[in-house]
Every structure is written in structure tokens, then in C-alpha cells.
Amino acid sequence: MERLKVKMDDPILPPGAAKTATVPVTAKPAGMACEVELFLGPNETTKVVTSGRKPFTSTGSSQNVTCPVTMPTNGGSAYHVYIDVYTGGYKFLVGIATEDVVIPGGSIGPITWG
């Protein structure tokens, strides 16, 4: 199943920050018991952090689903953002954000005076 490109601005977020992604999901037909999971990682098989599966009922049209996720605590990396949507235990929609989440990190010094 090919992942759909999901538009997202390039967010730079602090390590360990609790953030909530609002994901517009269109699931058809209406009335299905669905779940959505957003996770960050270097690839789709490595979940560094995840929102877990968040249940919602499809409306047949675009609906915002919120996915709270705590950012990785290790700074200095960029992570791909994946979104999987399930119904009846089957994954039927997969997406990847067009931009990565960046958790900056690093070090400074020692300085010299010129």
C-alpha cells in the first residue's frame, strides 16, 4: 500500500514536548469504527514515539482527528511522520507527512575572543 503524502509544515519542536497533531482524515463509508495512529520514526517500521491508536467514527467526509504525541527526548534528529488508519483491525489508509519533525540538539563552546 503506497503511503499518501500528507501536507505538513516543517515543525521544529523541543525534545520531550507534548504536542497534539490535528489530522484531517476522510474515511468512507460513514459510520465505521476507525482508529488512527500517528508515529515518528526513521522509517515506517521503527516507531520512536507514537500517539497510540485513537478511535473515531467515520463520517464519510473530512474530519479532524487529534493525535497527542510526546516528542522524542533525544535532540539532534529529524523524524518522518507516519499516519496509519485502521478499521476492523485492518490498516486501510497510510500517510506520510511531506515534512519531517525536527528535534534540534547540539552543544556549544568553549568560545574564544577574537
Binding site: 535532540g75 539532534g76 525536527v102 534540534p104 540538539g105 556549544i108 563552546g109 577574537g114
Partner: protein, 221 residues
């Protein structure tokens, strides 16, 4: 770290490792009593992270007020501060002491009519040292030592052998910025008929005892 002078422009070279690479970052160096009070700042200097240590130049004009300041460096990406650093050594802004010195030697009038001097003393002299403080206020010490010296020798060799101390003085005073003080010396010279001049060494010291002015006057006896 040696003290800096008020208003001096210095550049801190900060090796900054920012990850991941390719981020648009900004670094700011600032000085202050705490991290909320920026007395002087480099402003935000942009750079792009390489993922490895990269020297970022942070030019800053030192505060005008002599004091000891903490130094802080903040690094931002996407407007978010993600690295903070405090310099392990404080930045000391030392007062900049600067004076100008002049010296005037005058003969002493022993007979006058009104404002007109009819006769000067062949032996008595009066010297006036004028010190003008052009720098920071503070307690400054001025010393003068006056000698006789063999004038012909100086003309020929640009050096001279000091022959004898004829006068000296030492004064310590508080100077406000811009304040001018004059110190007077009264001294006696011998009448030898020889080509002998007088030579005055004048020094001014800052409150730490460091010489901030040193002048050397050669004048006729």
C-alpha cells in the same frame, strides 16, 4: 580572560554543534547580570547547521559601564531556543583611564611694578603640572621628578646623564571625568654658567597602580 574596555568591539568565536544538519539557526551572545537582562547583545546571528562543530562569529560591543557581567549564548531554530550556554568565565569591563598631562616651568618674579615683572630670581623656579582626566572617574596619583642634566650631551646623543634631583612631588586625587587639576612645584636651581637644562619626568597612575600617562619634559634651567 583579560578585562575589556568599555565600548570595545570584540568578537566571540563560538563552536556550535547544531543537529540535524541543514537547519536555519540563529545564535545570540549577550552580557548581563542575569539571563533576563541583556546589557549588550550580538543580536541574532544566522547560520546553517552542519551537524558538526561550526565556528560562529558573534560580534558584540562591550557595555559602557565598567562591571563584571555573565556571558550567555542562546541558539535558536525556527524561533525556538534549543541550546543555552553560560560562559564559564565572566566578562570584566575595566574602567578606561586616560589623562593628558602638561607641564609649564616659570621663573619667579622678585621685583614687580603692577603686573610687570622687573626682576626674576636667578635661582627660584615654579613648575605647574596640569592633569586632565579624559577617561573614567577615579583616584589618580601623579608623580613628578625633576633633575638637572647636561644639555649638550642630550643634543648630541639624544640621551643624558641626570645630574641631580632638583624637585619632586606626589599627589593623589579623585578625578571626575573631564576634571582638570593643577599641581605646583617650587624649586631652586644653581647658577653654574654651564649648559645644563632641567628634565622632568611626570607619571600618572590609575587606582590599580598602572601607569596611564608618562611624559618627559626637557626645559632650560
Amino acid at each position: 580572560m583579560p578585562p575589556f574596555s568599555p565600548g570595545e568591539v570584540k568578537t566571540a568565536i563560538a563552536p556550535i554543534t547544531a543537529k540535524p544538519s541543514g537547519m536555519s539557526c540563529e545564535a545570540e551572545l549577550f552580557l548581563g547580570p542575569d539571563e533576563l537582562t541583556k546589557v549588550a547583545s550580538s543580536g541574532r546571528v544566522p547560520f546553517v547547521s552542519t551537524g558538526a562543530a561550526k565556528n560562529v562569529n558573534l560580534p558584540i560591543t562591550m557595555p559602557a559601564m565598567p562591571a563584571t557581567y555573565h556571558g550567555y549564548i542562546d541558539v535558536f531554530a525556527g524561533g525556538m531556543r534549543f541550546l543555552t550556554y553560560i560562559l564559564t568565565e565572566d566578562v570584566v569591563i575595566a574602567p578606561a583611564y586616560k589623562v593628558s598631562v602638561s607641564f609649564r616651568r616659570e621663573r619667579v618674579c622678585i621685583t614687580s611694578r603692577g603686573d610687570e615683572c622687573l626682576q626674576y630670581s636667578p635661582y627660584e623656579r615654579q613648575g605647574t603640572v596640569t592633569v586632565t582626566n579624559q577617561g573614567a572617574p577615579g583616584q589618580l596619583m601623579t608623580t613628578v621628578q625633576g633633575y638637572t642634566h647636561w644639555a649638550a650631551d642630550y643634543q648630541t646623543h639624544k640621551q643624558c646623564e641626570l645630574m641631580g634631583l632638583i624637585t619632586g612631588g606626589q599627589w593623589t586625587d579623585y578625578f571626575a571625568t573631564g576634571q582638570v587639576k593643577t599641581y605646583r612645584l617650587y624649586y631652586i636651581v644653581g647658577s653654574t654658567g654651564m649648559p645644563i637644562d632641567s628634565r622632568f619626568f611626570i607619571k600618572v597612575f590609575d587606582p590599580d597602580g598602572k601607569t596611564i600617562a608618562e611624559v618627559d619634559y626637557i626645559l632650560p634651567l
